[in-house]
């Protein structure tokens, strides 16, 4: 009985992840997109170590963009890449001390992929952490 109780508790912690992220992006992430203008679309997910999330976005010709990847501390430093439509890497934050934002300027309008990856656990833990990860896109007029 107690074992069932504990298992249910652990399941609740996992499933309530989305509830814990309520307001996370607005409070913790949006202020950091300035001086760029946030494109207003929430791209937020609850991820576990090793998980990948992707954002398909269009960068317009001649416009400046900022990508800001915001995550809860318990997930560690999150990796992100900017890929072209053939999945070639344009930028990888692992080559720049895992910074959480970067600016871009494109001379041509194109469809791009922002790929975010939560680092895998280095050791087995009794409870796998989960946390909010948001991808924000800002542009300059």
């Amino acid at each position: 009985m107690r074992t069932i109780f504990i298992i249910l508790m652990l399941g609740l912690i996992n499933f309530s992840g989305f509830a814990q992220c309520k307001g996370f992006t607005k409070k913790e992430c949006v202020p950091h997109i300035k001086p760029f203008t946030y494109n207003g679309q929430l791209n937020m997910a609850v991820l576990n170590p090793g998980d990948i999330a992707e954002l398909i976005v269009t960068f317009y010709k001649g416009q400046d963009y900022r990508l800001f990847v915001c995550s809860q501390e318990n997930l560690g430093k999150v990796e992100f890449k900017l890929l072209d439509s053939d999945r070639n890497t344009i930028f990888y934050n692992k080559e720049h001390d895992l910074v959480n934002y970067w600016d871009f300027h494109s001379n041509a309008t194109q469809q791009l992929i922002v790929q975010v990856r939560v680092p895998a656990l280095e050791e087995d833990l009794p409870v796998v952490p989960s946390g909010c990860v948001s991808i924000l896109v800002g542009f300059k007029e």
Binding site: G11, F15, V30, A45, A108
Partner: protein, 297 residues
């Protein structure tokens, strides 16, 4: 024992709520996209998001073209109370937002105030909390003659609305807002652009480039298969996508240069948009038809 059973019941109830709130999040896991290379990769990606350009991004190209203000292309703010269903109210929130983004460029202050008032009413009926909807708009009214402040406040209001709706399991409503804004922006641009005027080339190209955003818009809608009204817009958008197949975007990859000191990467690719006049006219006609359907009450 009694305490244990009560706790178990309570936990089961919370578990069910958690499952439901995860529903929309998980529904996109099975979306396929032409950008997903293989099944192995698709299985590792837990979540795929699709973004479309904000009406502010769309309207900025209009200003650069030197186009004059045309109030006749806008959707009347006076009809706001005729929209009585949640989906229509959300669509009109997007539509009026796009209209306001256009009006802002030309510093039409009184017109901006009128759209602001309609947007405020819609935020209230959609139940967007005051501090995230109406209050931000009250700030806007104080800064109404400052174009840059207006930009910040428009984007903050829409960001807060999108965030609030998605945080509260109303992602489909948020998608209606985005749909309204995107279609209205495309409609405005296609109505004011003169294909034969060389100074409108940038607007025409931007219309052609919506080929990318259109695919993303369709994927956004498909993420909510249970919302039949939202799904009813898939077919007209697919019809538009068929016309966009005639738009040719010639893309030549260029060098990528990164400046770590500025945290800036520049992509030196080149793209040429080829859109024939008859294709432009078809896009213009279809955008108008979809827009008519969106704004009817």
């Amino acid at each position: 024992m009694k305490t244990f059973i009560i706790s178990l019941t309570f936990l089961s109830f919370l578990l069910l709520i958690g499952c439901n709130s995860q529903q929309n999040q998980l529904s996109t896991d099975t979306d396929t996209t032409s950008l997903v290379k293989d099944t192995v990769h698709a299985n590792r990606v837990k979540k795929i998001f699709y973004n479309v350009p904000s009406p502010i991004e769309m309207s900025s190209v209009i200003q650069r073209s030197g186009a004059v203000f045309r109030g006749d292309v806008l959707c009347s703010y006076k009809n706001v109370e005729k929209y009585t269903t949640p989906s229509k109210q959300a669509i009109m929130l997007g539509v009026y937002g796009a209209d306001l983004s256009y009006v802002r460029l030309f510093e039409q202050i009184q017109t901006a105030i009128n759209y602001l008032s309609s947007i405020k009413k819609l935020c209230d009926v959609i139940d967007i909390p005051q501090e995230q909807g109406s209050l931000a708009i009250q700030r806007m009214e104080k800064n109404i003659d400052n174009k840059d402040s207006l930009l910040q406040i428009i984007s903050e209001t829409y960001a807060a609305t999108d965030s609030y709706l998605k945080d509260n399991g109303r992602g489909n409503t948020a998608t209606f807002v985005i749909l309204g804004g995107w279609v209205e922006s495309l409609y405005i641009a296609s109505q004011i652009a003169d294909y034969n005027n060389p100074s409108n080339k940038e607007i025409i190209d931007r219309i052609g480039e919506q080929k990318y955003s259109l695919s993303n818009m369709i994927e956004l809608i498909k993420a909510y298969p249970e919302d039949k009204e939202l799904q009813s817009y898939v077919q007209p958008l697919e019809d538009l996508k068929k016309v966009y197949e005639e738009v040719n975007i010639e893309y030549v990859k260029g060098e990528v240069k990164t400046d770590p000191s500025k945290k800036l990467t520049t992509i030196y690719s080149v793209a040429k948009v080829e859109i024939k006049k008859e294709t432009f006219e078809k896009i213009k006609t279809l955008a108008k038809q979809i827009r008519i359907n969106l704004i009817k009450y």
